[in-house]
Amino acid sequence: MNSPRIRHNDYSILSPPDIGDWQPYLPVSVVIAAYGHQDKLDLTLAALAAQSYPSYLLEVIVVDDGTSPPLRLPEIIPERTRLLRTEPGSRGRSNARNVGLEVVEGDVVHWLDADMITHHDEVEAHMRWHHLADYLVVMGYVRYIEDDWPTPAEVHAAVSGGNGGKLFDVTASDPHKWIVDLAERTDGMRTAKDVAYRVHVTNAASVNTRLLRTAGPLETELVLGEDTELGYRLAQHGAAFVLEPDAKSWHLGRSMMMREGDRVSRYNRVFVTDRVAHMRWVRTHPRRQWLVPYLEVVVDAVGATYEDTKATVDGILASTLYDLRVTIVGPWDTLTEDRRKPQDSPNIDLLLVHGLYRNDGRVRYLERSPRSAAPAPYRLVCPPGWVPRPETLRKLVALAAEHGYGLINVALAETDEVLTARLEHTGAYARARLVATPGESVEDAVEDVAGTYWVDGATWGFLPAADAPEPKLSGSANNEETTKLKAETERLELRVAQLTEEVERLRAEKASQPRRRSLFRA
């Protein structure tokens, strides 16, 4: 498979072939979770049976999530259609989709709802993208209609003839409004950067299967917003999100979001926000903790003194970016304490570190650092003995977010080598690993897919432990900031006064020489 290097979410480098003018070879599995509504399912399957995508590459898996009487496969269905049922006790939409995901054989999974009528080239439109890169999520354009349904035979005939668009009155239908709006603002998601994940909507999205298996499955604890949450995790595993306006389908009836938007949002704000760290517009509280932190900080305590590790971790925990978690890495499982004279234990520094934070909810101890920080979107690797100031991490992550940097190297000190702290963007690293050629450094690939940047540690507020002040009540940091801002305001006020005076002077001068300009060859 090709591995073109999409930068951020700008998929402009991909040039899909025209529909009907290419030779597909990747198998796709359409996964449909259904509960009740046999009549709508019949129409969905009838439209799938009329796709332009080759039938030998198209598999359909219908998962009946406990309908009584059970759903059955109707007369008009694609050649390769399977019907599965969820077990009592493990029900729910997410679970049903996960059951389907377990058995798919295609290279791409195409989520579809059981009340969708696809146009004849809907699958093909999705698949022409997946042939270009192996880390894509493709979202189609859905229109919602409230109307009398045609019969399966009518649907099949219309879709087969390429007339799926004429089944209903477009003017009487509603677009998937927020996606259309978002597309408008972001050049079809090309400039959407870190919010592109939102278009993973399981009524009409398709995902590379390998990527989906790495990032997934759907979180069954979430009853709503589970697709958004999986989209977020896909992004942390390197996914790029493509909007395909030519992948068209009809949704029979309006969505739950349309019918009960406010109440769905109210639910999602609680349960989805906990897991999706990029929802910064909801996570505005200065001191809250969430299940998935915005920033994961890794401090490797091996070989460091207790004092150095403590200074670093204390500094990080005093950060005004509160939405973080610290992972301290060390051989915790094999530490032994001398029960008589514990102060003489071997590895006493590690023992002390282990004791110091064990009841702090934002600190965890791991034997080794995981390869990826997923699902946390940012990871800072900070050497012990270096302490960020309270504002440092907030500003550093903001810098990364603003420019979309995949890596910010912070130069701390140097001998022959330069000692650094590193801020990594989880999604950029994941994608870099996907596209890196054998022998290529991951950082070179990160440079391509997101950009890398160097900053000076001293300028950005990293101090050696010996110079770092003890963290204090955050008020003191604020006071410091206030004092600084007050001084700045005073300076600017003075400058404004000076400039105003200058302007007055120039005006007066100008008034005294009314015709000066006309004198010269301008």
């Binding site: 140097e414 001998t415 160097w454 900053v455 000076d456 006309s518 004198l519 010269f520 301008a522």
Partner: protein
């Protein structure tokens, strides 16, 4: 109003250059005097209309306009009271002073006043004990505005057929105007420019006939037989750019305004931005330094060739002038006459590039500017033009300055790298003095590198204990060039590095020139950064591994101080305190290598460079002018 200069009702004569409504200036300065003025285009060799004037005024719109009057020294009136007015000066200009020659006029000087005129102009009034040529005062003020200590060109002595041709030799007071033969056996000039068909009585002097812009206006060309003039156009037909006033000085690396347009309205070329007129060029197509200053804020300028009713000379002269000033100019689809008059090289740079992306990126824009100015100064500068005319006339030219490159190194393994960089220098005549600082000339790396170097090279061994300043002085003592330049063994230089330094020296007139230390390659972290230094300006320092200074100046300063380091800064300070000046040209052709500190404990840490970096790029990423091998 200037009080006490002349009595009420006094009769005053004035020579005017570039000012459209001089009466209003005179009314403002000397409201009670009776001023009789003549424009530079109408000055003749005959007597001035006012006999025995009370004072003489030299009125110029810009320093460039003042320099147009300097070659007319011989035909400007005499006076005891002489006033020089420059209505506007570019922002980089300092206050003027009167720098007359000792032995000529300085002894007779009794009073000087320097006053501000408007927001950027100057008035200089002088009173002498006896009558002096007002042209001498004009020349003295003009000289005081540049870095050049002498108002001279290393060129054949020039003659001009009439005052209207003054633009051919701006700023040079040693010009004979009018072709009257000298009675002595020595001719008044070596080479002269005259109007076509005009008389030139002294047939011992070779002459070149040149039409003024108005003779080559389209109306004339359209007349029967006029088209021939167009087909014969070459760069030598354009009046040269006065590179000592119209040059890259004041270039802005990060412009604050957008891309403007140059187009032609009512017979005048006009530069505008979003419909606002910025500069209205005179019909002759003369570009002045204050016009350039007004355009510095622009990201670029797009020129539309048609309609070009002013004729080919005005249009191409503007392009040559702006290009020489490094204004990022774009002029697509040039007509054949433009290519003929400007030369194919310049046209290629004007039409080259991926636009508008190349203008939108600050670095690409500056690269374009450097390529344009280099090409235009070499093809259309006053020195270049007269060199070309003299060559065509079969005259012998003074040789260009030769450069001695002083390369001191403690590292045998860098000799090859450094000599490779020197070996690829273009368009300069150079020699190398290789000072081996505690390194043996017989070490294989050195011997091999020296062996394969095909330009003049002197090797000199110095003991490791000798201070760096001493090593340099010993090396300089073994040079034979006009200029000496210092070379770092581990830095990267563009193939035009030395040629660009000579060019900057020629247009700035500075005693020492060097480049801005902008690009650094941070070897440990494989990163190229660019610092925020402003360039193309008089400055107090330049990159240590790049400066070029005449041997004579270096000798006058006593060479380098015999200290182990900071020899460059010490030299700069000594020079500035002695009244010399330093010019910092663009830094696109130089990348300093910043390796692990190792022994160099005085080196700044890597964070120092990161903090000061305006731009950074992963890997070794010099400008395109570096032409990496």
């Amino acid at each position: 109003m200037i009080s006490g200069f002349v009595a009420n009702g006094a009769k005053v004569v004035a020579a005017v250059s570039g000012v459209e409504a001089p009466d209003e200036v005179f009314r403002r300065l000397l409201p009670d005097a009776e001023v009789d003025w003549t424009d530079v285009a109408d000055i003749s060799a005959g007597p001035w209309p006012v006999p025995d004037p009370a004072a003489v005024i030299i009125l110029a719109r810009t320093p460039t306009d003042l320099r147009r009057l300097v070659p007319l020294r011989g035909v400007l009136p005499l006076g005891k009271r002489i006033m020089v007015v420059v209505v506007e000066t570019p922002s980089w200009h300092d206050a003027p002073h009167v720098a007359m020659s000792r032995g000529l006029g300085q002894r007779a000087l009794r009073e000087v006043r320097v006053l501000r005129y408007g927001t950027s102009g100057w008035v200089v009034t002088t009173r002498f004990a006896k009558e002096l040529p007002s042209g001498d005062v004009a020349a003295a003020v003009a000289r005081g505005l540049t870095g050049h200590h002498l108002n001279a060109y290393p060129l054949p002595a020039a003659g001009l057929g009439e005052a209207d041709l003054a633009d051919w030799r701006p700023g040079d007071p040693d010009v004979t105007c009018g072709g009257e033969p000298e009675t002595s056996g020595v001719t008044s000039s070596d080479l002269a420019v005259r109007a076509p068909g005009a008389e030139w009585p002294d047939d011992r002097i070779p002459t070149v006939a040149r039409s003024s812009w108005s003779d080559l206006a389209w109306t004339t060309i359209g007349a029967p037989g006029g088209y021939d003039a167009l087909t014969e156009l070459s760069p030598d037909h354009l009046p040269p750019v006065d590179e000592r006033s119209v040059n890259p000085r004041g270039f802005l690396r990060t412009p604050v305004k957008g891309v403007g347009e140059i187009s032609q309205h009512d017979g005048r070329w006009t530069a505008s931005l979003d419909g606002d007129e910025l500069v209205r060029f005179p019909e002759s197509g003369l570009v002045t330094d204050t016009d350039v200053d007004r355009l510095r804020k622009l990201r670029g300028l797009r020129l539309t060739w048609r309609p070009a009713h002013t004729g080919p000379l005005s249009a191409t002269r503007i392009v040559a002038g702006l290009s020489a000033a490094g204004v990022p100019l774009v002029a697509q689809d040039p007509p054949a006459w433009a290519t003929a008059a400007l030369g194919e090289d310049l046209i290629e740079h004007l039409t080259d590039g991926e636009l508008p992306a190349d203008l939108a990126d600050d670095l690409r824009r500056e690269e374009r500017s450097v390529l344009l100015r280099r090409c235009a100064l070499r093809a259309h500068g006053t020195t270049a033009r007269w060199n070309s005319l003299a060559t065509a006339a079969g005259l012998t030219l003074p040789s260009p300055p030769t450069i001695s490159v002083v390369l001191a190194t403690r590292r045998a393994d860098f000799v090859r790298f450094a000599l490779d960089q020197i070996g690829r220098q273009r368009d300069v005549d150079l020699e190398v003095v290789l000072a081996l600082h505690g390194v043996s000339a017989s070490s294989p790396e050195v011997a091999e590198a020296v062996q394969s170097f095909d330009r003049p090279l002197t090797v000199h061994e110095m003991p490791a204990a000798a201070p760096f300043g001493t090593v340099l002085n010993e090396a300089v003592a073994r040079t034979s060039g006009t200029c000496v330049t210092k070379w770092d063994d581990d830095d990267w230089y563009s193939p035009d590095h030395l040629a660009d330094l000579l060019l900057a020296r020629a247009y700035s007139g500075a005693d020492l020139v060097g480049v801005a230390s902008e690009f650094f390659y941070l070897e440990q972290i494989d990163l190229t950064i660019r610092r925020r230094w402003a360039s193309e300006m008089m400055a107090d320092h330049v990159a240590g591994g790049t400066f070029l200074v005449s041997k004579e100046t270096l000798d006058a300063l006593g060479g380098f101080r015999p200290v182990p380091r900071s020899v460059d800064i010490e030299l700069f300070t000594t020079l500035l305190r002695a009244g010399g000046c330093i010019y910092r040209t663009h830094g696109l052709g130089f990348v300093a290598r910043r390796a692990a500190r190792g022994r160099h404990t005085w080196q700044e840490p890597v964070g120092y460079f990161l903090h000061r970096a305006k731009d950074q790029w992963r890997g070794f990423r010099p400008s395109r002018l570096m032409e990496p091998a």
